[in-house]
Symmetry: C2
Subunit: 336 residues, 2 copies
């Protein structure tokens, strides 16, 4: 294997000069020398020693994706998979490496990753309080995704969740639905779900509907519990006819559970989802949903992190727009 010394000997320079070229300290090396060293490196297939470079430059070129809440889920969410896939592509595109880590305890995991001199991390799925805690403990550049921490020290990339709730409610109210339900996990905790709930409620108020028109139903964002909930709702005489699920996976479970219990969507009940996962098109009828651009969110997170790593000023908060995507799961409300 080619070493720094081999390259130095061939180029007729010191090992320190080669090291300066490798580590980008080119202000100390003439352009011609740097060029010569690089061409020898390319020709001999020299691969820098990652750990040694990390020690000498305190840059590892490793970026981490910390996936909070792993204990809270049983299978990967399609949303998280698409996000991760795109982050990996973007990070690789910049010549860096991506380390991934699920974490029940975000602070502990961040400390472990710091031991690897990661240059920074993107944190997905942490609660606002966790974000504040992690940011306070670590000097590492961090970007929090879909996080509603109100701390001014947190760098955030997310969506206009409020608008998503608003659009969903208007679609259902516009189709004549007056028995509405929001199906979601923990609407009271500060975060994306709470914002979607606030948006939904704003549209209910805007339409001058009785506040009793809106039922809140708790449901974990997985297929099985939402399928069971769909079956249970189908048996209720006074069931809501216009449902907004704060995740497509919940909407899909509701739709299947209700249909299998004899309540067809959209004739007997209408459902709006959130995310526009590929899965929204697999079901019958295809799902009307609030669309977010997950790859754009991943790109924004990587961009924000690189800005932080490069020591530029803290990037502005990013809040991406959402849109209503009409398919087949909303129809006029059935007669009472």
């Amino acid at each position: 294997m080619t070493t720094v010394r081999d390259i130095a000997a061939e180029a007729g320079v010191s090992a320190m000069t080669v090291s300066n070229v490798i580590n980008g300290r080119t202000d100390k090396v003439s352009v011609a020398t740097a060029e010569r060293v690089r061409s020898i490196m390319a020709r001999t297939g020299y691969v820098p020693n990652g750990p040694a470079t990390a020690l000498s430059t305190s840059r590892s070129n490793i970026v981490a994706l910390i996936h909070a809440a792993s204990g809270r889920r049983s299978q990967p969410s399609p949303h998280d998979s698409i996000f991760l896939d795109e982050v990996e592509r973007r990070v690789t595109g910049t010549g860096r490496f991506l380390m991934i880590r699920s974490a029940d305890d975000v602070a502990q995991t961040s400390a472990e990753l710091r031991s690897w001199r990661v240059d920074g991390a993107i944190v997905l799925g942490a609660f606002a309080s966790e974000a504040d805690e992690v940011q306070a403990q670590l000097g590492l550049p961090l970007v929090f995704v879909d996080n509603y921490s109100t701390s001014s020290r947190i760098s955030r990339v997310g969506l206009d969740d409020f608008q998503g709730g608003l659009l969903a409610a208007r679609e259902l109210i516009g189709a004549g639905h007056r028995r509405l339900a929001l199906v979601a996990p923990g609407v009271d905790r500060p975060g994306v779900i709470h914002q979607r709930y606030l948006g939904f409620r704003a549209a209910v108020a805007e339409a001058s509907l009785d506040r009793n028109s809106l039922e809140l139903i708790d449901c974990e964002p997985f297929f099985d519990p939402s399928w069971e909930l769909g079956s249970a709702l189908a048996r209720r005489q006074d069931r809501p006819t216009g449902l907004f699920a704060t995740a497509d996976i919940i909407a899909i479970g509701l739709l299947k559970g209700m249909a299998e219990a004899g309540v067809q969507v959209p004739t007997a009940a209408s459902i709006v989802g959130f995310d526009d996962l590929p899965e929204a098109r697999y079901v019958t009828p295809s799902l009307t949903t609030i669309r977010q651009d997950i790859p754009a969110k991943a790109q924004a997170a990587v961009d924000a992190l690189l800005t932080l790593i490069e020591g530029n000023e803290r990037p502005a908060e990013v809040r991406l727009p959402v849109t209503l995507c009409r398919r087949g799961s909303v129809a006029p409300a059935p007669p009472d």
Copy 2:
């Protein structure tokens, strides 16, 4: 931040002794001393310097997952997402870190990862020829998943794909279907798809059916092309009635495309998928499919890699069983 020297001073030992404890060279340290050093490390919240440890032990505790064929897909496959998720959990559970990397050129990416002194890598989605090339070039412990390289040097973890094809064909033939189709990407290339095809064909032969009963239809493993194919098949008078798709995602596209063009599953056509993704239950009707245990495959791959890393003898090839999972997409063949 606590340093090795701080710990050495407090424990009354040399920095080398502390380093020996950190790096697991405890044969050189008394049990009592090692205990004392560890308790000081725990109390002071000492975090080892990852790159320095990697240099001094030539172990990084980093394992890589190389995801071949990224250029061949437009969105992450649910299969790969579940596999990755489980690999991350298992690797983290052993106290190691997982680096992930998509790769158009597996050999180039492996070399880059080697620069980071990764202890080994799991390679997903590579063709048999790529596996041979990568294994020949690198001295790194490597485990290839779903790979049919015939090289005796390759460590493999996979499925009984032949049996999967056999079970799918028997299910369709048993329901009376005589116009059969196998819908798959590139059945001729050595690999999992080819094995599923061979199994399917063996069942056709076993039932003494005319070889013309089996139509081969090429289709990429994504929703859109399979949906379009479903629409096109629906318009054919002589369309096959018993279809085996070598991936659930193809089966889902076929089912939706045919249904939207007026050919209902399972009354007018039957479909068997492969994988048993969560998505198999989202569609209407739910998908009859060949079930594989993706988390078990991930665990087998991590176990095999750790065996290789720890320098034990090369693990035996793992070939996990598959089973038929009956749901709603197969029914008796319609009358001719």
